[in-house]
């Protein structure tokens, strides 16, 4: 197969950063909003403003269905998971509070926590194993009387390692600690049920496995938790306009300013696609692609794979290294020679790389998605073999 002659196509393996392609309905929903509606939701009360509001409500309702949340108004929209996490962390934690997290976190959790630590919040970072696993017993041991929150990623964006969310949620609930989950990597890709998993705060990206456009994300807030959660921004919400104080109710408290209505129209279509296909079907397809890739890599000499050995314990994310080639060189070569798009380096998660022993050069990360195909995995394996010097044609 002429591996070097694929320049008229690309193989997109950067779904862990943002998904591509998107379902056809996503763009159609955005165009429909722009051409047929165009109003500002929750503001003016005219028919186009109400239609814009209805679009956003439908997006909320679809997400509530996906996350098993009985009231869609418990979900506030943000521009990405990072903003949602910043609201959750800065909005709850005060000097003197103690917070527990894992050593596999993305900087969207770590940086706000390190900042809060500099302001007097006590931080415990529970060490994970070399393949990124978090032992709930270690979390239990880190709990102190002043522990206010446990915040963990549902799955690592570096190794794909899935944390035992339901078990951690139970620990948090039993100790009266708020449980905040970073679902950037998992919303739409793995089942999430906020009640069964005892999640108080769920931050998600709209532009990854929920198939929305970039600029979308959100935060689910358990009933009552908003009373202790300060907003990050204040301003116009369209509601309670006669008062100069910020609304104290969901979702307006956290949704100041004109929202990304066109983006949320697209996100709604993305989430409805996920609901129609079914998270289980999406998971099984992605797990199959991952298993195929892991199986292929295992047969390649000179390739080191990080994270759990089998696909069942990880999302469709695989980090690896090729002996003698730096991740950035490998990524450039994969891109230029083979049209394979991936993400090298630290993937915004230095703590995770320290945990798996790949700091500071990082890894090559492939993030598969629902639209990838078996043949793309085979082509990628051949390309990696060629990088590793095992290509007999070269």
């Amino acid at each position: 197969m002429p591996l070097d002659k694929l320049n008229n196509r690309i193989i997109y393996f950067d779904n862990a950063a943002t998904s591509w392609p998107k379902p056809a309905g996503m763009m159609a929903a955005m165009i429909n909003y722009n051409e047929m509606i165009g109003g500002s939701p929750g503001r003016s009360g005219h028919q186009r403003s109400l239609d814009a509001g209805r679009i956003i409500l439908e997006t909320r309702e679809a997400l509530a269905e996906l996350f098993g949340c009985d009231d869609s108004l418990r979900i506030a929209f943000t521009k990405n998971a990072t903003e949602a996490l910043n609201i959750a962390l800065s909005g709850i934690l005060n000097p003197g509070d103690h917070v527990i997290t894992s050593s596999m976190e993305h900087n969207s959790v770590m940086r706000p926590l390190r900042y809060l630590e500099s302001q007097g919040v006590q931080l415990s970072v529970v060490s994970c194993s070399g393949d990124g696993r978090l032992n709930p017993a270690d979390v239990l041991a880190a709990i102190q009387p002043q522990t206010r929150m446990l915040v963990v990623t549902h799955a690592s964006n570096v190794t794909g390692t899935i944390h035992p969310i339901a078990e951690l949620g139970e620990i948090a609930r039993n100790h009266g600690i708020l449980f905040c989950v970073d679902a950037a990597q998992t919303a739409g890709a793995l089942p999430i049920q906020v009640d069964e998993m005892a999640i108080d705060l769920l931050a998600f990206s709209g532009h990854k496995s929920l198939f929305g456009p970039q600029g979308t994300g959100g935060l689910y807030v358990r009933k009552g938790t908003e009373n202790q959660l300060r907003p990050l921004m204040m301003g116009g919400t369209g509601s309670r306009s006669e008062f100069e104080g910020q609304p104290d109710f969901m979702p307006d408290k956290y949704e100041s300013g004109t929202p990304n209505t066109i983006g949320l129209a697209g996100l709604g279509a993305g989430v409805r696609f996920v609901l129609a296909e079914g998270v289980e079907a999406i998971r099984s397809k992605e797990e199959g692609l991952t298993a195929r890739f892991l199986g292929g890599l295992a047969a390649l000499p000179g390739v080191t794979v990080y994270g759990p050995p089998d696909a069942a314990n990880r999302t469709a994310v695989v980090s690896f290294n090729v002996a003698g080639v730096s991740p950035s060189e490998a990524a450039l070569e994969l891109d230029e020679r083979f049209g394979i798009l991936c993400r090298p380096g630290l993937q915004c998660a230095p703590a995770a790389h320290r945990t798996i022993g790949t700091f500071s050069q990082g890894t090559i990360r492939f993030g598969f998605g629902y639209f990838n195909k078996d043949e793309e995995i085979s082509l990628a394996l051949a390309a990696i073999q060629s990088l590793a010097g095992g290509d007999t044609e070269k």
Binding site: P41, G42, R43, S44, G45, L50, G53, R54, I56, L57, R60, E61, D71, S72, L73, T237, G238, S239, R240, S241, E242, P247, F249, P251, D252
Partner: protein, 74 residues
Amino acid sequence: MEGQRYIVFLFPSVSYALKAEKILKAAGIAHKLIPVPRHISSDCGVCVRITEDKQQDVEREFLGKVGWDKVVLL
């Protein structure tokens, strides 16, 4: 119905009013979304208008699904 009076449900924000609208549509209860009358509130939002005789049915539909601020006779 001849001489039927109207009441309005006022909500914390338009998001709530639109959720209420969706619930009433699903329940098949006649309703209309109207701007909040100035004499009731200075808020610029919308409220849900129904006939007075439907108040209890509507409250039953809303309970546990969407919260409202108050009900006012027009």
